[in-house]
């Protein structure tokens, strides 16, 4: 479904990504993990079109997308959530989902202003579909609340719901569990699994919560200092020495740590 | 040929000096608060009109009038900050723009009430023959304007780069929270910045009035051109504002002289739009710095 090929990106003197390559199979939940500053969010931003890479290519469903604008990429079927929740805070929960339906609908300035019958029908469908999605993510009871008034856990779920409204083939989730407690994280994991199983949407997940990652991912790519250091199934990754070093430091350091604090 | 050119050049430098001072005024407020005070132009008008009031109407001695004018301007800046800026908790950008516009209207209204719509003038700072450079006639006041502007620039340079207060003010705009944490009284810095920018503007007004007279409604155009000067050099950079101001003044003067006087005001506006559209960070500043600002 998605192929990242030799992506490189520098910001001024800082090399954020170097020759990053990996594949995402259709229907998989692929996790991108790595210590802070490894370049994970930059990579997501490149895939979704916010940044242009210095070299390399991203191929989505057979098509090269690196040169496209973010909204064009979205219309191709990639949707996403953000590390710092980017909801439409002054709009209601329902309206947030409805905006997600934008790319699938047509009403323009003229047809909306003059309230043409065809537009009214389309509007009803938008309302209906959005209501369904809200129900699917269990936020129906919040539908008329201002998005900014929701607790963070529900905000993150709403963001996912909004992404779902675009009927994507692939969703990029940027640290969806950040700031969530154990129960909220578990619910989140359930929703992600539901999306993959029932809606057959492929998912790329950037996360720090290892418990969540190991539990739901099919495949994991590990980044460190902008390079891929491991790529494989969760069990393999857990045992991979490089990964352990990247997260925890060299073994001697760990030993020293234990000796210092018995 | 040369005579005419020099004549235009000097008149451009003169008016450019005022634009530079207005631009510096913008920078002072911006550097301390990240707010762009669209009432900046009114301070210039206040400077000119109050100077007239003290020296011509009350017939007070020159230096006394200068001091009183500066005090008045400072007071106006203080009042503006205390009454309209300080009370606002968490203002959004639009509100800030609107409030400074609203205050500029109030100031204009007060000036109009007391001074009506007439132009005002008072004698130049020094009596004497105008100079002649290659046939171009340069009034002594012109030299005063340029000299005073230069003096202000140097004084402010020392203030911001060398004194603690100046550096503290710069810290406030970049990160008010951090500034507070190191003991800087942010709210007082904000107040000082308004007072200072008002005084700088007023000085410009005081200096230019003997040459080009002063009316109650010159504020907005001065603000626009001064803002143009400020962003030309990159908002926040006084060196840039000075360069910008002189460039605008000279281009304006050349356009009025060689092409068509009605297009005078358009020059600054076109430059303004070109810069905003293509190089909003200014001709000398990097984009990265822009992102550091609050607004």
């Amino acid at each position: 479904m998605l192929s990242v090929k030799e992506i490189g990106k520098s910001f001024g003197g800082l090399t954020a990504l170097r020759a990053v390559s990996f594949d995402v199979r259709q229907g998989d939940i692929k996790a991108l993990i790595g210590p802070n500053g490894a370049g994970k969010t930059t990579l997501l931003n490149i895939i979704s079109g916010i940044h242009k890479p210095d070299n390399g290519e991203v191929v989505f469903m057979g098509e090269k997308i690196v040169h496209l604008t973010p909204s064009r990429i979205a219309r191709k079927g990639i949707s996403r959530t953000f590390q710092h929740v980017e909801l439409f805070g002054n709009m209601t929960v329902l309206e947030n989902i409805m905006v997600g339906r934008y790319a699938k609908t047509k009403a323009g300035f003229f047809s909306s202003g003059f309230k043409l019958a065809s537009i009214m029908k389309e509007e009803e469908k938008i309302l209906q579909k959005s209501g369904e999605i809200l129900g699917y993510i269990n936020l129906g009871h919040r539908k008329d609340e201002l998005a900014s008034n929701l607790p963070i856990g529900e905000q993150r779920v709403l963001e996912i719901g909004r992404a779902l409204a675009t009927e994507p083939h692939l969703i990029l989730l940027d640290e969806p569990a950040a700031g969530l407690n154990i129960k909220e994280t578990r619910d989140l994991g359930e929703i992600i699994r539901k999306i993959r199983e029932e809606l057959t949407i492929t998912i790329v997940l950037v996360e720090h919560d290892m418990e969540l990652v190991m539990r739901i991912s099919d495949s994991i790519t590990v980044l460190n200092f902008g390079e891929v250091i491991a790529d494989g199934a969760p069990l393999e990754i857990q045992k991979n020495r490089e990964v352990i070093i990247a997260y925890l430091g060299e073994e001697e350091e760990i030993q020293k740590g234990y000796n210092a604090h018995p | 040929m040369l005579t005419v050119f020099l004549q235009f050049l000097f008149s451009g430098l003169t008016v450019g000096a005022v634009y530079a001072l207005v631009g510096i005024g913008f920078n002072i407020t911006y550097n301390a608060t990240s707010i762009i005070n669209l009432a900046q132009g009114e301070f210039v008008v206040i400077g000119g009109l109050m100077m007239w009031f003290f020296s011509e109407s009350l017939k007070l001695p020159f230096f006394v009038s200068v001091v009183l004018t500066i005090i008045t301007a400072g007071l106006v800046g203080l009042l503006m900050e205390r009454l309209t800026i300080k009370p606002l908790k968490n203002p959004d950008l639009l509100l800030m723009i609107m409030i400074t516009i609203a205050v500029s209207i109030v100031l204009r209204g007060v000036l109009m009430f007391f001074f009506k719509k007439d132009p005002y003038v008072y004698p130049a700072f020094t009596e004497g023959e105008p100079l002649s450079i290659y046939g171009a006639i340069i009034q002594q006041q012109t030299l005063w304007v340029i000299g005073i502007t230069g003096f202000c620039i140097i004084a402010l340079f020392f203030f911001f780069k060398k004194t603690i207060i100046g550096k503290a003010m710069l810290a406030c705009a970049v990160n008010p929270t951090a500034a507070q944490l190191v003991g800087i009284n942010v709210s007082r810095m904000v107040m000082v910045s308004f007072i200072l920018s008002a005084i700088v503007g007023a000085i410009g007004g005081m200096a230019i009035t003997p040459i080009s007279l002063m009316e109650y409604d010159k504020g907005p155009m001065l603000a626009v051109k001064g803002f143009c000067a400020a962003i030309m050099g990159g908002l926040g950079s006084n060196r840039g504002a000075v360069l910008g101001g002189f460039i605008i003044g000279i281009l304006e003067s050349m356009t009025a002289g060689y092409i068509h006087s009605g297009l005078k005001d358009a020059v600054a506006l076109v430059i303004l739009l070109l810069i905003l559209f293509f190089k909003p960070a200014g001709l000398f500043v990097s984009k990265a710095m822009l992102q550091l600002r609050k607004y």
Binding site: S48, I50, P70, S71, A74, S79, R80, F82, E86, L87, F88, G89, N90, M91, E95, V99, R101, Y102, A103, A107, G108, F109, S112, G113, F114, K115, A163, A165, T166 | I36, T84, L88, L93, L94, L95, I97, M98, I99, I101, A102, V103, S104, I105, V106, G109, V110, M112, F113, P220, V224, I231, G262, D265, L269, L272, L273, L276, F277, P280, Y295
Partner: protein, 316 residues
């Protein structure tokens, strides 16, 4: 359209129909006509600022384009008035595109000053190259449709407010539609909009065009009513005036634009006696509104009404 809007709309239609009957004095109707013309500009600005979150201090430019283009075409080129007006709106739309495209990247102060600069440049162009220059020109024909010319004040009142009603209807529908939601979304988070497939650039350009077209319509109505125009009516002062209308009325609500327009248009009439104080009073009203009634008259009124209803329910 929500219930509240529908009732308000009917009330408006009623008031429009009835005002000339109750107070047929030419003076009241004239003030009413100018209120209506200003309301058109204000509604456009309200949508641009309150909903789409953009800033414009240059609406006078579009207003002036509307007035001048329509007048010149009907006087010098002999176009029928309606055609001239439509052409004026088209020219304004074009000007809006020219302004909006480079302005797309600008936000906040920069956008405000850019639009201000734009408005001022239009003003200078009108001063330099408009027929009659700074003194303006006259003999502009009254509004004329299929041979029937409107001369009377009452006729104009109905024409202007009739158009206000149509524009309002259009605008309210727009706000509650997919497009309206998109505009509000752009206001809240452009990056999220792009990620959801919205073409933010196109939306911004279109909403600028909308505000320009409304202003141009108002400008041409103005020109064909007063039959004499000069560049001084289309200056920064007018742009700020329109801004005041939107803010005083309530930037988040189109009804606010109408109320604000009426209030700000009527005010100078009330202040006629204090002619020297008018600028000062304008400034004070604006400052006080911004500081204490930030939300604007209409939203505050709506809140008060909701609270009262809340009490009524509790008491039962």
């Amino acid at each position: 359209m929500k219930k509240g809007d529908a009732s308000a709309f009917l009330l408006l239609l009623f008031l429009i129909a009835v005002l000339p009957i109750f107070s047929g004095s030419a003076y009241t109707l004239t003030v009413g006509i100018f209120s209506g013309i200003n309301a058109l500009v204000a509604i456009g600005l309200c949508i641009l600022m309150g909903y789409a979150g953009q800033v414009s201090l240059g609406q006078a430019g579009f207003y002036g384009i509307g007035a001048y283009v329509s007048s010149v075409l009907s006087v010098h080129a002999g176009f029928p008035i309606v055609v001239s007006m439509l052409c004026a709106m088209a020219v304004a739309a074009f000007a809006a595109v020219i302004l909006a495209i480079p302005a797309l990247r600008l936000k906040g102060h920069y956008l405000a000053v850019a639009t201000l600069g734009f408005g001022e440049i239009i003003n200078i162009i009108l001063n330099e190259w408009g027929p009659g220059g700074p003194s303006g020109f006259g003999d502009i024909p009254h509004f004329n449709l299929f041979g029937y010319t409107i001369h009377s004040t009452t006729g104009y009142f109905y024409l202007v407010w009739g158009l206000v009603a149509v524009v309002l209807f259009f605008s309210i529908n727009l706000i509650y539609s997919r497009t309206g939601r998109a505009l509000r979304a752009v206001h809240d988070s452009e990056i999220a909009c792009n990620a959801m497939g919205l073409d933010v650039a196109a939306l911004k350009i279109k909403v600028f065009i909308l505000s320009a077209v409304y202003a141009a319509l108002a400008g041409s109505l103005y020109a064909h009513y007063v039959t004499f125009i000069s560049p001084s009516s289309f200056s920064l002062f007018y742009s700020i005036l329109v801004l005041m209308m939107v803010i005083v009325g309530g930037i988040t609500n189109v009804w606010g634009a109408i109320i604000g327009a009426v209030v700000i248009t009527v005010l100078p009439e009330l202040l006629r006696r204090f002619e020297e104080l008018d600028v000062l009073v304008y400034g004070l009203i604006l400052t006080v509104s911004l500081m204490f009634f930030r939300k604007g008259l209409v939203p505050i009124l709506i809140e008060k009404i909701k609270k009262l209803r809340g009490f009524a329910v509790v008491k039962r």
